[in-house]
Assembly symmetry: C2
Homo-oligomer: 330 residues x 2
């Protein structure tokens, strides 16, 4: 009986589906399944996306206020990147306790502003309010020509699936932070770089069929794309572009499973997209210009909405959907 259920009984994605169906009762064109909401204006879409983070549940211990500011801005910009958009502004609302130091607040603001500037945009508004602990909500705004908008929907049956950059950087950063190492990997976790330029370069070809960012981890993202497009995916294990930072850590610590972390740990903020195999060389050329690798990791398969992982001996097994989901125990 729904009345007795708590939000942790059903998890974030079920909550969003239920909210979505309420919004749709009022306006049938509402679609919460993409990274951004879109508002058509002339031949463009205005893109908008909100992400909230809470000190208690989303911020690894050891992250500085400057990094919290950068992080919040970056994860919001990542949603604009995934749609091929040009960022045009960020709104940043900060809830904090009355005892929060002014110097920490200013560091947070500087981190946020530095990230916005790095991606050629600005913090243009927001709010500050009292809260028991630090909670930050960001909204990123962007623009994209209608012809270049990359939706999550649009996977074609003979598409391949590809990913920018490498996987497991954030997992490596979390491992280093947990072990109190001062290392460059921590930046990948705490100061992610949204793929704004990469997203625009891919979008402007007009050849991408579907795209999303990898905030929740590869397996979760693949399942979301599969469900939305009513397709399955087959991923090649040996093709996964595991980050060298994670490989170094796993070579030193046998408890670190680099394959598991690359498949299921979130926070890499890479772009995951599908397109025709014939167009991959063009995408690679475009991203080569900015020294960003691009890897085809698998292909679309018909049949059920599931994801399989295949090794070099062609052993094919189902990939569990283990990415992070709020309100669940995953």
């Amino acid at each position: 009986m729904i009345l007795k259920e708590t939000v942790s009984d059903i998890g974030e994605r079920a909550l969003i589906k239920m909210a979505s169906s309420i919004y749709k009762e009022h306006n049938n064109s509402v679609d919460l399944t993409d990274d951004c909401a879109i508002i058509p204006i002339a031949d463009e879409y205005i893109l908008s996306s909100s992400d909230m983070i809470s000190e208690k549940t989303h911020v690894p211990h050891g992250m500085t206020p400057w990094q919290i500011g950068w992080f919040t801005t970056a994860i919001n910009l990542s949603d604009i990147a995934a749609k091929g958009g040009n960022p045009v502004g960020i709104l940043l609302s900060v809830g904090m306790p009355p005892t929060y130091p002014v110097s920490s607040f200013l560091d947070l603001i500087k981190g946020a502003s530095s990230c916005a500037t790095r991606y050629n945009t600005s913090i243009i508004g927001g709010d500050t309010k009292e809260n028991d602990h630090l909670v930050i909500s960001g909204t990123a705004l962007g623009r994209v020509h209608k012809d270049f908008f990359m939706s999550r929907k649009g996977v074609q049956s003979d598409d391949v699936i590809a990913v920018t950059g490498t996987l497991g950087k954030a997992a490596a950063g979390f491992h280093s932070l947990k072990n109190q190492k001062k290392s460059g990997e921590i930046n990948a976790l705490c100061e992610p770089n949204p793929r704004i330029i990469e997203g625009k370069k891919l979008a402007e070809t007009g050849l991408v069929h579907s795209c999303m960012d990898l905030s929740d981890g590869l397996s979760s993202s693949l399942y979301q794309l599969a469900e939305l497009n009513h397709v399955g995916f087959e991923i090649q294990k040996e093709k996964l572009p595991i980050s060298k930072e994670l490989l170094v850590i796993s070579s030193q610590d046998p408890t670190v499973d680099e394959l598991y972390l690359s498949l299921h740990y979130g926070g890499d903020y890479e772009l995951l997209f599908t397109a025709s195999e014939k167009d991959i060389s063009l995408f690679k050329k475009k991203l080569d210009e900015i020294n960003v690798p691009l890897t085809v990791i698998g292909k679309v398969i018909s049949g059920k909405e599931a994801v399989f992982i295949c090794d070099s001996n062609e052993n094919n097994e189902i990939l569990p959907n283990l990415g992070y989901e709020h309100f669940t125990n995953k």
Copy 2:
């Protein structure tokens, strides 16, 4: 020494000024002084504004989840109204504990969606996340033709200052809620009606010189407008359009000071604007069509950025700035 200060030592407005100067270092055109941020596109501005509310500090005891949803949406829309904008979408991010009932979450979503629908727009995106207690951040998006945008800046030296509707409705609602009365006044507090239609009607005349909404109370708003425009105001005590709900309550309870509450209690979400006296009859005619009163409450004065209140005997005294400000003890 700033390093030892906490945010409660300096208050919300000083924090926003400090944040603003950091953002301006990166982009000199950033302006956080208005109700909305603006992004120019062709002959329009895209308007955006974020407001965060926390169950612990902003929600009166007794407010239902449905009302919390309506309230968050309404206060965000009020910022679009104050600029003369047409709302085009709301993003709603909800932080809540894992134990939060699904039924309460759905009621909150229904309240938010009902408010959006009432003002001819929709919830188009958002986020749900774990938090210790309920915290909601909304972002309202709107559009307005550049010629019709009503800025907070632009007060002219011979302007009068006027307000839509009545003052003290929210204060009356709070009194009723506190005394556990079931009365219509509570709706004014918990389910405010942003002045979207009124804002558009005023804006489309092209004759408004400055405008803001009354979220923080009249005295606070007057001081904000005075500081921003380097002017003073003289308000006529007997002209204040005190709501009849508040007058009824104060007639029954001698501890209720209707003048004090009309001047300093926030939450009425009326529009406060300045214009030439000669244009007031046109504004009144426009708002008469939708049965909304409009009252000239005073005029601009030169000299220092202060607000005076004048009684019918022409006794003139300074109006204290007692509106609500976060992180202070006001």
